[in-house]
Amino acid sequence: MISLISPSNIFHWVGKLISFINSIFFILLLIALSFALIFSPPDYLQGDSVRIMYVHVPSAWISLAAFTCIALMSIANFIFKTKNLTIITKSIAPLGLMFTCLAIVTGSLWGKPTWGTWWAWDARLTSMVILALFYIGFIVSHKFILYEERANKVSSIIAIIGLINIPIIKFSVDWWNTLHQPASIKLSGVSTIHSSMLMPLLLMFFVMLLYCALIFLMKYKTEIIRIKKKNLKRL
């Protein structure tokens, strides 16, 4: 089963998937942007500034999901010691960092017209900055620790410790009195967002997920070639 998902077996499909996503991505992006910027209604309280939600919320979701994936795969890597998992986590981390930074910056741009300030050291915002630091730690450990095995160990430990921060981010708005509003979309329970805003939000989320898949696959392919190149030198 594990051999089926080995790099050499899926390499061909990675290339095909990249081409497929490339072919549909820009059409979907245009549709999603039209809904986010033109067709979705302004909020009764926040006005048009609510449109920032269509980039801010998907970025935040992706940053949390990416780190959770990295941490869970790092735990699996500790147990099974699979090289493929290291390649996957290494490919996801830069994407996660970028979306964490985007969530912070767009959140700040949303905060100014809504709260009257660019930044506040409140629980949600501070825990997101801590998440960015965990991402930086993970990436830096792979870049600057020369011995690959040691780099994997250090980065895995960083990811596993960082996993504690994920529920803190998620529930920070419930546990502490913060400027940040509580979640409007709930997997269990009734969402408090109108469908005219939910639809563009989910569409933007889907487009951003496609973008992540595209970058992840390209980075994954690059990593595989880098390893093969290294092996070639041994000949």
Binding site: R51, L102, M218
Partner: protein
């Protein structure tokens, strides 16, 4: 209509800045990732081509990835 879209009742600066920063960051990461991938593919194919005929045959026969990179590289040149 275009003026309304740009101005957004006074929130245009914040909304357009958010979308622009996101778009620029995503485009930059895409460009850089694609460039790195192409460079690695090119270098890898070149290294295989530089091997002796015997070694090249051995590599291509034993590695699916090497043969795929080599064939896609030879298509592009």
């Amino acid at each position: 209509m275009i003026q309304n879209l740009l101005y957004m009742n006074g929130y245009g600066l914040f909304v357009w800045a958010s979308f622009s920063i996101t778009f620029i960051a995503c485009a930059f990461v895409f460009y850089k990732t694609q460039k790195t991938l192409k460079k690695y593919e090119r270098d890898f194919a070149k290294e295989i081509n530089d091997l002796s005929a015997e070694k090249r045959k051995l590599v291509v026969e034993n590695s699916k990835i090497a043969s795929q990179v080599l064939s896609s590289y030879s298509k592009t040149i």
